[in-house]
Amino acid sequence: MVTTKGIVTGVNGNMVTVKVDGVVSLNEVAYIHNGEKRLKAEVIRIRGDIVQTQVFEITKGIKVGMDVSFTGEMLAVELGPGLLSKIYDGLQNPLPEVAAKTGYFLEPGVYLDALPRTVTWDWTPIAKPGDTVTRGDYLGSVPEAGFVHKIMVPFTLYGTYTVKSVKEPGAYTVDTQIAVLVDAQGNEVPVTMFFEWPVKRAIDCYTERLKPTEPLITKSRIIDTFFPVAKGGTFCIPGPFGAGKTVLQQTTSRYADVDIVIVAACGERAGEVVETLVEFPELIDPRTGRSLMERTIIVCNTSSMPVAAREASVYTAVTMAEYYRQMGYDVLLLADSTSRWAQAMREMSGRLEEIPGEEAFPAYLESVIANFYERAGLVRLKDGKKGSVTIGGTVSPAGGNFEEPVTQATLKVVGCFLGLSRERSDARKYPAIHPLESWSKYRGVLPTEHVAWAHRFLERSAEVSQMMKVVGEEGTSLEDFVLYLKGELLDAVYLQQNSFDPVDAAVKPERQHFMFRLMVKILGGNQTFSDKEDARGWFNKLRQMILDMNSQEWKSDQFNETSAAVEAYIQERTKNMSAHGTKILEAMERA
């Protein structure tokens, strides 16, 4: 095959213009030859024989007239055993290995194998000679960090193949030929344990997409109960700086009840990634008993790394997520922050001199964001099993104002919106998810109508609170005042959660059920109070008791003691239950 060549004719920031002598395709990878160095670039616009590329490196030193070679391939990642616990940059360069080679600094033009070629994997075949296979079918498996890693027919092999031979069980490296397939024309296709797939194409080797129904447990009460996320669903976390986006992402990546977590640190602080890098190997995943790092992949293209690679990083991450989904796993992708990714697009769009949309973002911003989130999903695989990719992205709106293009474009396509507010984080109410602005279209750990009933208390409490600001406490009726206190209590002991407390940081659904029932008893109960002071005093004490309980080990003696005391304390004041409250309690008993 004749590869296309070109020469550089212009440089503007990270955009390099090239005059080519042959065939090029959009999004094809090219290398700019700067002396010894090869700088990776991607074709983003073609006009006649003039091609514009975005370079994934610093462009300093590039001259007009330098040679460019085109690969004929789109930007792709390696998929195979060995991805877990790796730390990659946006182009799937393993960062620790790069550091071993170049030291402290990221020198341009250094590209290493994403998958180590020296590690061996214990291969067990599944397919037999004579089997008919298509892309995505399982040929065999290897164990990887407690998971069964299926070795599949490369997704790039369209058509039907017959298995000619399969390697006998044994320990092999990823580049060992483990099977030979024969296509319809009789051509032999050797297959190894890994293959490449272009990152900007969604992996589509499944029979059907299903509606996400099962909740993805994050062990955060406000999320699981009030604004749940579903396996295979999407959610977004917009918030101003300092509102706790990253902490929320970190706790989610730690406690989420999924098989594999992929963290895409996209254009954010390097220091935050370091915390994950240092802490995860020390933490134990309760599901597998292994370190959390072993179920995690980190794609890290921090704010000072080249912008074009930042744009690629979210695609790199989602492609690896889809790959593990194909084995029947539940994968959670956390992208922090999608605004930085959108800004990378904006920078490029500006250099291309495209007509700008709102706030200079490109006009295609919405469709690109929609396309990305649409790569999440619950699917039925060819063997009937299910796998899912859940995508959660943080958004960093300018000035904390949600009326900006990235937040709005994201809200159109996600199933759950967890809006963080400065007001709540200033008041140290964490997680600072605003209970009146956030929403979710998914089902959580509790029936939606029960949650909606509890949510009404938050709304009415906020109304009373607003009113009190005008008329003062004196002008508020006792009845309204109690309503206000109920909302405040629900907020303090249920919505807020102390992520630094070892017990309160992660609350299982069972405990959420228990807590919710307790809340129903308080919210739905009619208590007797002589005056506002009396009510305030009673609620303050109750809040303290429940907060103590929150940090006590589930079902420990101490916990049982406190919870009994809380029940008695409530019982003592409660005249009767409201009809709706009773109904919910009965329904919860039955369930």
């Binding site: 550089v8 610093i58 590039i62 007009v64 550091a99 000072s304 500006g350």
Partner: protein, 433 residues
């Protein structure tokens, strides 16, 4: 000898274009004008058209002036001789000392590999209680000082420069008023700290392109010193001027503005500088303190807003004091558990009481009656403002903690403070009758 080009095709603002071959992106050129020689940096290549921004500005450049490419990007000399010297944004001495040419290093180098970074672990003592005690500065941290114009932020920076326990200070001044430049110089001279200081100063009167060079040149030098096992503190003032210079260049370059005229890559530009803050695991470190003036005290203005997303907290300077609310050191938790047993408790306790004091002030202003508790809070708040918040207070952390207990004891009964009994027993000052 490098070829000399004597025909300038176009001059737009500070950007000139010549037709030339074999020029690299980011390369430096010399432009000879009748006002002297200026450097220029290549910012765009389009076939044989080479556009560059002239450091000294476009004013007075004639189409017949000579341009000569130097064959290397912007560089700065790096050696021990830098210490005690003052340069402008182009790296030319402004202190009448000799020009330095040995051991040239390129500025704006690649970023640090995230996998080589470590979790910050050491505090930097400044002698300012509002920092040391309440929002501890940590080695390798990047922190802006948010402030409105007119606040004494440069005095604060100069004081930190004098007192901070670091090996070397690099001051990058951008759009500095000449008076402020002299204040820095005098303060450091008088304090005898000039010998451990390198200054790169762009004053408001200097050409705007040089302003853009200041952070890069400062940080490139800082990086080299840090790799020689020095703990370097980089002070940048004021990053809003830097951003405005970016804006100016972008607009003359006909780039599409994104938000209030700022270019779309403002975040990346700021991050590329701030992210140079680092703690090398087996060598020195870079800590960055930068002033960001907020036009109209508006934290949602693009410059403070983008900065807030990048940095690890902020100091909020208001009314000549570091505000306890709004100020935040995101890294303080990494170090304030290791200083003294009462550090965190005093920090939280005093701030909670101060918040209560602010509420009381509000009540007082609205004409409500003051209870005995309110009176106590009022006394406490005044003492706190005078003995802790005032920027002239200059005491080490331990003395500040002791002072904290003293203030508490002079205003409250132990149980009113909400502090742990164990700590009260240990630290509560014994009554001297």
């Amino acid at each position: 000898m490098k070829k000399v080009y004597s025909k300038i095709e176009s001059i737009v603002g500070n950007v000139i274009t010549v037709k030339a071959q074999d020029v690299a992106y980011g390369e430096l050129a010399q432009v000879k004008t009748r006002f002297g020689v200026s450097l220029a940096e290549v910012i765009r290549l389009d076939n044989e058209n080479v556009s560059m921004q002239v450091f000294a500005g476009g004013r007075g450049i004639s189409t017949g002036d000579e341009v000569q490419f130097l064959g290397h990007p912007m560089q700065v000399s790096f050696s021990e001789n830098l210490k005690g010297r003052i340069f402008n944004g182009a790296g030319i001495p402004r202190d009448n000392g000799p020009e330095l040419h040995e051991n040239l290093i390129t500025i704006g180098g690649p970023s640090v590999n995230p996998s080589k970074r470590i979790i910050p672990r050491e505090m930097i003592r400044t002698g300012i209680p509002m920092i040391d005690l309440f929002n501890t500065l940590v080695k390798s941290q990047k922190l802006p000082i948010f402030s409105i114009s007119g606040e004494p932020y440069n005095q604060l920076l100069a004081r930190i420069a004098m007192q901070a326990e670091v090996d070397l200070i690099i001051l990058g001044g951008m759009g500095l008023k000449y008076d402020d430049y002299l204040i820095f110089k005098e303060t450091l001279e008088q304090g005898g700290a000039l010998q451990k200081t390198v200054m790169f100063v762009h004053t408001a009167a200097d050409p705007v392109v040089e302003c853009l060079m200041v952070p890069d040149i400062s940080l490139a030098v800082a990086e080299r010193f840090a790799l020689q096992n020095l703990n370097v503190l980089v002070l940048l003032t004021d990053m809003t001027n830097f951003s405005d210079a970016l804006k100016e260049i972008a607009i003359t370059q006909e780039q599409v503005p994104s938000n209030r005229g700022y270019p779309g890559d403002l975040y990346s530009q700021l991050a590329a500088r701030y992210e140079k803050a680092v703690d090398f695991s087996d060598s020195g470190s870079i800590t960055i303190l930068a002033v960001t003036t907020m036009p109209g005290d508006d934290v949602t203005h693009p410059v403070p807003d983008n900065t807030g997303y990048i940095t690890e907290g902020q100091f909020y300077l208001k009314g000549g004091r570091i505000e306890p609310f709004g100020s935040l050191s995101r890294l303080k938790q990494q170090v304030n558990g290791k200083t003294r047993a009462d550090h965190r408790a005093v920090m939280d306790g005093m701030i909670k009481l101060f918040a209560a004091y602010r509420d009381t002030l509000e009540k007082k202003a609205m004409g409500f009656q003051m209870s005995a508790w309110d009176q106590k809070l009022l006394k406490y708040g005044e003492l706190f403002e005078k003995e802790m918040m005032d920027l002239s207070v200059n005491i080490p952390l331990e003395a500040a903690l002791d002072k904290g207990w003293e203030i508490l004891a002079s205003c409250f009964e132990p149980q009113e403070t909400g502090l742990q009994t164990k700590l009260i027993e240990q630290f509560w000052p014994k009554k001297v009758s």
